[in-house]
């Protein structure tokens, strides 16, 4: 089965500084990787995905992620953090089983951006 790991429970960063939220993956075959964000008492919102092509993927709200095959990583990044970016971030991988597929999520990383 495919899986992702998010090694940090929480990341703290000052507003205006760059941020990185880490994700590593374990898959057989080509990985289909996703990042989602969850604001308090809200559902998950899609940020970006990597299927194939350019290793640097750009997404919503100024976020981007870098796919690194040799390090099996898909870290989420943003050049300049905002207080409003504070939320819970989930990395996910498409898990194909026969004709079915689903997203398998990591445990999440809480991002706290302070003034």
């Amino acid at each position: 089965a495919q899986s992702v790991a998010q090694p940090e429970d929480q990341v703290n960063v000052a507003e205006g500084n760059p941020l990185t939220v880490k994700c590593t993956y374990s898959v057989s075959g080509n990985p289909y990787l996703f990042w989602y964000v969850q604001y308090p008492n809200r559902g998950l919102q899609f940020l970006l995905k990597y299927i194939t092509g350019d290793n640097l993927v750009k997404g919503s709200y100024g976020f981007e992620a870098e796919f690194n095959k040799s390090q099996t990583s898909f870290h989420l990044k943003k050049p300049s953090a905002l207080v409003s970016d504070s939320a819970l971030y989930f990395c996910a991988v498409r898990d194909f089983t026969g004709t079915a597929s689903k997203l398998t999520f990591g445990t999440g990383t809480r991002l706290q951006v302070t003034l």
Partner: protein
């Protein structure tokens, strides 16, 4: 509506009662998913429908949990003889197919079993 709609948004019930949670996916989306999210955890897969049929129900924790999607649109997650450990947020998501596309999530139904 434009997004995935889930009702009720909050449900409080007593141990042993029966509960139904409803999901109305984005119009035209053939794939529908149920996930469960406990406090401080990532979403945990429960079941996936492609059309009317359950293509993968490997995540259902036991036979107290059941889901249907009789007309290939709205789905209902049914929980019998609820237990306190069933307390969680139940998330529904839909997507246009079973390929590479992203899932679109509803805001969830928060279930509390007293």
């Amino acid at each position: 509506g434009a997004g995935v709609s889930q009702t009720p948004s909050n449900k409080v019930t007593e141990k042993g009662k029966y509960v139904e949670l409803r999901c109305d996916p984005i119009s035209g989306h053939t794939a529908l998913y149920w996930y469960r999210q406990s406090l401080g955890q990532g979403p945990e897969f429960l079941i996936y429908f492609q059309g009317t049929g359950a293509a993968d129900d490997s995540g259902l924790p036991n036979d107290r949990f059941f889901a249907v999607r009789p007309e290939g649109s709205v789905s209902t997650l049914k929980i019998q003889r609820t237990e306190r450990g069933d307390s969680a947020v139940y998330l529904c998501a839909s997507s246009a197919g079973q390929g590479h596309g992203e899932l679109f999530f509803g805001e969830g139904s928060r279930l509390t079993v007293l």
